[in-house]
């Protein structure tokens, strides 16, 4: 073989190389809206010192506008190394429970989300997974009940079996909307008046919830949990989030506003 043969061979190899160039007008593919059969829980592991976390919040907003706030139940769990705990000077939204969740799921980066407690996903992958989850039939339904006396909350839930026998755990959380606290922004600046939505505040029935087992056609009623709202929380902005989960992930979720 001489040099010419080598060069010719190289060009033939390059010519055989597959190439995908996508014109600007062909970069989006229309997909039918997802069929909604159930509610989906999105746990957004976020942090006030995480510059990309506002992008994930924007993504949540878009998802809820499309699929409905009641169908995509988002919870912002401030946690991990980029979360911030309150100091004398600044309001921090991280909680020890949030950090426990962050460690439990062995997360490396923020923002990262769990969709119905599947594997960790970066926020650009949330939409596809939510579509899949929304289209699944739920084996249970959840009804949430509340009694509010000033800063005293009494919360309980009914879990109704819709198919087969469901064994798992029921988790009750409190979240708060419209919380003003600082947030680092994608451009590196610090927004001291950032409005945080669906902030995880507390696990009402323990970090990992209570056992539940219900057969099709039957109803399981939890005990009544009382919770005293701390003074620096705004009761008007609180919600209760409930979900049933098992080894297969979250099976159904529900959310109601306190007031």
């Amino acid at each position: 073989m001489n040099v010419k043969t080598y060069i010719l061979t190289a060009f033939v190899a390059l010519a055989m190389t597959a190439c995908s160039y996508i014109e600007e007008g062909d970069r989006l593919i229309y997909v039918k809206p997802a069929e909604v059969k159930r509610c989906v829980l999105l746990e957004d592991f976020t942090g006030q010192r995480c510059i990309n976390c506002p992008k994930a919040s924007d993504e949540i907003k878009a998802l809820q506008e499309q699929y409905g706030v009641d169908n995509v139940i988002a919870v912002g769990i401030h946690s991990g190394p980029l979360g911030f705990h309150s100091t004398d000077k600044y309001v921090g939204l991280s909680t020890d429970t949030g950090d426990e969740y962050y460690d439990h799921w062995a997360l490396d980066y923020q923002p990262v989300g769990l969709i119905d407690r599947g594997g960790p996903l970066e926020y650009t992958a949330w939409n596809a997974r939510i579509r899949e989850e929304l289209a699944k039939a739920a084996p249970v339904n959840i009804d949430l009940m509340l009694d509010v006396q000033n800063d005293q909350l009494t919360i309980w839930a009914e879990v109704m079996g819709m198919e087969g026998t469901t064994t798992g755990k029921l988790q009750l959380w409190l979240t708060e909307d419209d919380v003003i606290a600082f947030q680092l922004m994608p451009d590196g600046t610090r927004n001291m008046e950032y409005v945080h939505q669906h902030v995880f505040r507390a696990a009402v029935n323990g970090t990992w919830g209570e056992p539940v087992s219900v057969k099709e056609g039957e109803t399981f009623t939890t005990q009544r949990y009382t919770f005293t709202v701390p003074k620096d929380w705004n009761v008007d902005h609180l919600s209760v989030v409930a979900f049933v989960y098992s080894d297969q992930g979250v099976l159904q979720a529900q959310k109601i506003k306190i007031i």
Partner: protein
């Protein structure tokens, strides 16, 4: 995969065994040789609220055992890794153990074929660099095959294909590539006569990754390119003390999480020129890169799955405070990087050189993009032997480190760093070295001070103590003490102390290491 591992290992052993038998038959053939290395780093962690260190386990270790059989025609190797309880700061998927590295290589004439896992770099690595850097938890080897041909003088051709390792799995994308290098001076007598070496090279890499659902809104998903091609051309010229390198690389549409799923092409160009003559060295480098993050999984975040690597063009500092704010190459966006370096040896018995001579080195690097400075450092280093037994190194460094760009927050950190490093030869086998360092800044955590003393008792022992102290903000001491013992091919080091949370960087790639405290043990053995 376990079957493949076992098969390759057995084949390797069989080939080697045959080689061994043949070696006894023919004295002309090379005997079979077994080489290996053992590296084990252990931490017995302790809680320390002051620095935020947590005891996550009783014993943490990163342990590697490499075995390599070499014969005349066939080589084979395996590496066992035990990372089930890894040292702090690695990604969670780093945890595990097994034999992720296994290969057989056959040589015949001008052809060499490798099957199994392998590392490869085309040119400067702008479109392909698979490598192992244990301190950063990087091992992005390819599992597949590689053919290297050297059919004529100065000609090297490579072709490869495989899947890339990501910790204890292999990414699904298929990577293939080819590379050609021709040393023209082997073919052109005029170049040979003038003592000029001219090499031309060209490379191509293709990634095939299946389509997947990435939605931009609830009813539209991206039409993703399944094939991404990257190519690279380069030339190196060496003549006398001069050495020049010019390289250009381009990548086709590769929407990924790193580039926010944009469809722009990626480009990189670099230039490096150096002059080196006895006593004098000069280096000038420039690089421009944009949208050159190239991974074997488009949705990947973190430090894994990179197919390529862009050199940082900033100085890798070894002094503790000079390395406190290290720069990491920004692959996903873009950057201009410039570096210039000059070194001069003043001869002994001259006015400036004194009785024993003096070395002066100046380095300047600057990295920026679209009006924002990412990093800049200017350092001047003087090394002078003051007496027959005492050598002193002085260093001044002015640094600008954009913490927001590299770490995500923190703004620009501007600092001045002063370092003195003295080594006193107490006896032919005993040396004492001491470092004093000070970093002055009004930003981040303020000033830092550092001191180190190191006693060498050749040929076996070395004792060291050090302390890094935050003067400006936290007033925390990060003390370390250690003893190292070497004999033959063995080296054992034990220590105790605190390690500050921060970035560990190498070649422009960084890993965040959380704070830790405890006893450390490090063992190395080569055979």
């Amino acid at each position: 995969m376990r079957f493949l591992t076992t098969l390759l290992f057995v084949v390797g052993c069989w080939l080697t065994a045959n080689g061994q038998r043949d070696a006894t038959l023919s004295k002309k053939e090379q005997p079979v040789k077994l080489h290996g290395t053992v590296q084990s780093d252990v931490l017995l962690p302790q809680n320390d609220d002051a620095i935020g260190a947590e005891k996550t386990d009783d014993v943490l270790t990163n342990t590697y055992i490499d075995l390599q059989l070499q014969s005349q025609y066939v080589d084979a190797g395996v590496r066992m890794e035990y990372l089930e309880h890894p040292l702090p700061g690695f990604e969670h998927d780093f945890k595990g153990w097994g034999v992720p590295h296994f290969w057989v290589k056959g040589r015949l004439g001008w052809a060499e074929l490798t099957a199994g896992t392998f590392y490869e770099q085309f040119g400067s690595g702008l479109i392909l660099r698979t490598y192992e850097e244990r301190s950063l938890g990087i091992d992005n080897s390819l599992l597949g095959g590689r053919l290297v041909l050297k059919p004529g003088k100065g000609i090297t051709l490579k072709a490869l294909g495989g899947k890339q390792r990501r910790y204890w799995n292999w990414n699904k994308a298929w990577i293939s590539g080819a590379d050609a290098e021709v040393s023209l001076n082997e073919w052109l007598p005029s170049l040979q006569q003038s003592g000029t070496e001219l090499m031309l090279g060209a490379s191509w890499v293709n990634k095939y990754e299946k389509d997947e659902d990435i939605f931009v809104d609830p009813t539209h998903r991206l039409n993703l390119p399944e094939f991404v091609n990257a190519w690279d051309v380069r030339a190196t010229l060496n003549k006398g003390p001069w050495s020049l390198l010019a390289e250009y690389a381009q990548k086709t549409q590769d929407p990924s999480f790193d580039n926010q799923y944009n469809y722009d092409k990626g480009t990189a160009v670099l230039f490096s020129g150096s002059y080196s003559k006895k006593g004098l060295s000069l280096l000038l480098q420039g690089k421009r890169s944009e949208n050159m993050s190239f991974r074997s999984r488009r949705t990947m975040i973190g430090t894994s799955s990179f197919i390529n690597h862009l050199p940082a063009f900033t100085q890798d500092h070894t002094y503790a405070l000079a390395a406190l704010y290290p720069y990491a190459t920004q692959l996903a966006g873009g950057e201009w990087a410039w570096q210039a370096e000059g070194g001069y040896n003043f001869k002994r018995k001259t006015a400036l050189g004194g009785p024993y001579g003096m070395n002066v080195k100046i380095n300047f690097s600057h990295v920026r993009w679209e009006g924002t400075t990412f990093y800049q450092d200017l350092d001047v280093q003087l090394t002078r032997k003051l007496t027959k037994d005492f050598k002193l190194t002085l260093m001044y460094m002015n640094q600008r480190y954009n913490k927001t760009v590299v770490e995500g927050e923190g703004g620009m950190v501007r600092s001045n760093i002063f370092i003195a490093d003295g080594k006193l030869q107490l006896s032919p086998k005993t040396a004492l070295r001491a470092e004093v360092q000070y970093l002055a800044t009004a930003d981040d955590q303020g000033d830092w001070a550092y001191g180190l003393a190191e006693l060498s008792l050749a040929p076996h022992w070395m004792l060291s103590v050090s302390d890094m102290y935050n003067v400006g903000d936290t007033h925390i001491h990060y003390y370390q003490g250690g003893v190292a013992f070497s004999t033959g091919a063995h080296r054992l080091q034990v220590g105790y102390g605190r390690t500050r949370a921060g970035y560990n960087c190498s070649g422009g790639v960084c890993r965040y290491v959380p704070a830790s405290k405890g006893f450390t043990l490090s063992y190395n053995y080569n055979f």
